[in-house]
């Protein structure tokens, strides 16, 4: 088959896959994880049940793929903030604020976050934050008496408190965490 045809098929497959994940996300948002079936996902995605099975063997694999996409989107958004305009202090605060928002949106019993993919994502997030903190320390904007690796673990744990605080507390939590880091403006 010519290359163009391959590309077209690839694009179609990606579009179907995205539609399935969007449909699953909408169903979970509306009805929770329970009651999610292959038939309902197929119907919501506007494809046949047999087609859906060509993409995903079961509901669990759809949820894992959806969660993976979700986590990748978060990592990409945080990386964009880290690489964005502003000096390192401002970029660091932007990343911490965004992460507090992500943690604030998480709820208890979010069992998907216990998966291997989530652990891998957490390691990447931690490494990425460590590099940003090292950059801040080199620029004299972050404390230098504690290794960036440890500060990174501190940030992620401290910001997870957003999950049990009211949404309006997130900004205050970020200010407290930033004070711990010795972030200067």
């Amino acid at each position: 088959m010519p290359k163009l045809w391959d590309d077209t098929i690839d694009a179609h497959r990606r579009a179907v896959r995205e539609a399935v994940l969007d449909a699953a996300a909408a169903l979970v948002a509306a009805h929770g994880l329970h009651g999610l079936t292959m038939s309902r996902v197929a119907e919501a995605a506007g494809i046949g049940r047999a087609t859906l099975y060509k993409y995903f063997p079961d509901v669990g694999s759809i949820l894992r793929a959806w969660h993976e996409r979700h986590v990748e989107a978060h990592l990409a958004a945080l990386a964009a903030l880290a690489a964005g305009p502003g000096d390192v202090g401002e970029r660091l605060t932007a990343v911490l604020t965004a992460y507090a928002g992500i943690e604030g949106a998480r709820r208890d019993g979010d069992e998907l976050h216990a998966g291997a993919h989530a652990r891998g994502a957490r390691e990447r997030l931690r490494a990425f934050l460590r590099d940003l903190l090292a950059e801040g320390a080199a620029a004299g904007r972050v404390r230098t008496d504690v290794p960036p690796e440890e500060l990174s673990a501190y940030c992620l744990h401290a910001l997870s408190a957003a999950g049990e605080l009211a949404p309006e507390a997130a900004g205050r939590l970020v200010a407290v965490v930033a004070a711990g880091l010795g972030v200067t403006h």
Copy 2:
């Protein structure tokens, strides 16, 4: 039965119970949670298997009682530090340091901490820390722009980072957390 006799029986029952929990703790420390049986606990505690069953119906109930005792001992130790000598800044730092040590000793897969008792203990710990932080804020030793309730959640989450850091990092973590709280000395 006379009161004295009741007291004697109570003391005996408590002593047996303590011996069972000590034996279970020693077995878990030596061999891990797996392989813990009623027979082994009875043998290690120096009592008969039939006697052990009068105290605990199964291994799970022994582990829960052991964990409950463990958590209560931690809460009592933290409360003693909070009520101890020194001004509120020193007492707060002592409590944070002790809690970092407790979190540092915890390991992943510590499923006992997911129980209802652990959740209740966490709530009590949080309330107790909130009161200590409020006392510190009133004394001008802790920041006052963030409610003590939120600072308490921040502390517990941030200090849980000790569980994934090297033991020698605990002191640095406490210093970072204290800086976030604006603790002045």
